[in-house]
Symmetry: C2
Subunit: 338 residues, 2 copies
């Protein structure tokens, strides 16, 4: 699915930026795709982009209203609907990353039909998927993998894409989750496809490409997460990565949402990912480590990065604090032709 | 989902028993659930059960018409529909394991509603699923795992259940695929659930149980199959097996449907399954090997079983040729209380 840009971001009744993960991702990584934000009177936060009416946004060229708020139930609140209907009547497409489908709200579906506008429920793919072939593809692929969920796999992939593009390398971020889809305007929420098609969907997201091209594929979950490891493995097999970056968060004791499972070690995580990746790409290797050290002081962060660098002989960065240049240097060394 | 039994098996226009995998599984494993078969005039095969009219089947107590044929596209042919409609008008529920949904054929849906009958599209779950907790459950669990797809995981699980029940042990087969669902009358097609819920669905299929109870869970795919390993891993993590049986087919060179991937070795397959299983059950262990030697002579089959038995120090059977008693003996030795 490909969404029309630029976007108008709908903050709804958000009272903290944390609940605007989807909208904030777009502002952080694709500010050029955001003409501005629109919000209900109850909203108490801003993303620092112009606050516009629908008419003003339309005038500035916005094509799609993005529901930028992610409440815990993943539902579309009834008091958001009037804004959605008004947007459709103004000719906007509407996109949502929530669990509840826009297309299942009768008045929204009718308004879209009446105005000849599209609804994008990005968690619910309508793409015709195939099972994976396991066959090699041309071009190069990098995948971010993690010790756990929510450690910075999307952030790292986007930072690598940005750095590679700044170096005039031929690279594209490939989204596999909701936030990534809004940032890149396309992709598939891989945890929402039918289980049989996990690997096949990733093969479709990252097809044959030019010999010097890099797909920078956003990873999901962790091979060590008891709820989601199946998704992670299917993604890994479909991605057939040449290069992997290990993403980790420092100072987290338990797997996300789990009270009985500690985070695996970095060594163990790399070994399990290499063992698994080799099924569809025998040459898969790690090219760097990306550590989220947000909870550490600057000097502690530095010490941690140095420690891992010495231990694993890989460039080791905090993508927010240090950037990812050392990892991209390593990629250029290893694949000089690409 | 739980289907009403006994069944009337609809062979449609089958011209070979191979296309009747679903119906044949029920006849082989649950003959007491089949009052008979019904077929179109073009059908040239039989499953050896009484050929009945709808009225005769009704008289013998049949509750559900099972579409027993599995064509390659997974579609419901237009010329099957009159029989389905007639069955609904006679008060039968109708169940299908095909990809195309009964409920999506307007006249079938209308007839079901009119007659107050249920439609079961067993590949499409309507169960409300949750993500996995990873928490241990009471009771015991056995899972069949494989070097490849279609090596005998369902057959082995059913044979183990049968043997355990004959010994008055407290055991239930747990279906995770279409054929198994028709055989046991319930279950979930695990490759058809949304990827996020693979492990969670298996936790729901095999909840807390009595301390001496065994769930004998049907495995799917293989950790070494490039298309489906994600499903296999999610199933393994959700099953949290205490005991695993390795299922293998002798004399198959390539993974099913793959021309570039050879079958893994038995040692490698056991190691990968143990490594993966330990995430949610640190005590997981193998209790036997089940080899499909259908392509071998009796003496070659014997030699192969002896070889693996010596190599892995595990009871090694061909469930069709030798039965599974040695494996169940081993289970009784290891868990005398259960």
């Amino acid at each position: 699915m490909t969404m029309q840009t630029p976007y108008l971001l709908f903050l709804a009744d958000a009272r903290e930026v944390l609940s605007l993960k989807i909208a904030k991702g777009v502002v952080d990584w694709r500010p050029e795709l955001c003409v501005g934000e629109i919000a209900l009177p109850e909203c108490t936060v801003t993303l620092g982009v112009p606050r516009l009416t629908l008419a003003e946004a339309k005038e500035r060229g916005a094509k799609t209203l993005v529901i930028g708020m992610n409440n815990s139930g993943g539902t579309i609140a009834a008091h958001w609907v009037p804004t959605i209907l008004e947007a459709l009547d103004c000719g906007f497409d509407v996109a949502s990353g929530l669990h509840q489908r826009l297309a299942n709200i009768a008045e929204v579906r009718d308004a879209a039909r009446r105005n000849n506008c599209q609804l994008f429920d990005v968690r619910h793919t309508t793409t015709d998927l195939k099972t994976a072939t396991g066959l090699p593809r041309s071009g190069n692929r990098l995948l971010t993998v993690g010790t756990d969920c929510s450690v910075g796999k999307m952030y790292t992939a986007l930072a690598v894409e940005k750095s590679m593009r700044a170096r005039k390398l031929n690279a594209d971020f490939v989204a596999t989750g909701q936030s990534g889809i809004f940032i890149s305007g396309k992709g598939l929420a891989i945890d929402c496809v039918i289980a049989d098609f996990i690997s096949g969907a990733v093969e479709q997201l990252s097809p044959d490409n030019e010999a010097n091209h890099w797909d920078i594929i956003e990873g999901q979950g962790s091979l060590f997460h008891p709820s989601f490891a199946g998704v992670t493995l299917g993604l890994l097999h479909g991605a057939q990565p040449d290069a992997m970056i290990l993403c980790h968060v420092e100072n987290r004791e338990y797997m996300r949402g789990m009270r009985a499972h500690k985070l695996p070690g970095l060594q163990e995580t790399m070994e399990m990912n290499l063992l698994s990746a080799r099924l569809t790409n025998p040459d898969a290797r790690f090219v760097g480590i990306s550590v989220n050290t947000v909870d550490l002081s600057a000097s502690d962060s530095n010490a941690v990065l140095k420690k891992y660098e010495a231990e694993f002989q890989l460039p080791c960065v905090d993508p927010v604090r240090t950037g990812v240049e050392p990892i991209v240097d390593r990629i250029e060394e290893l694949w000089p032709q690409a």
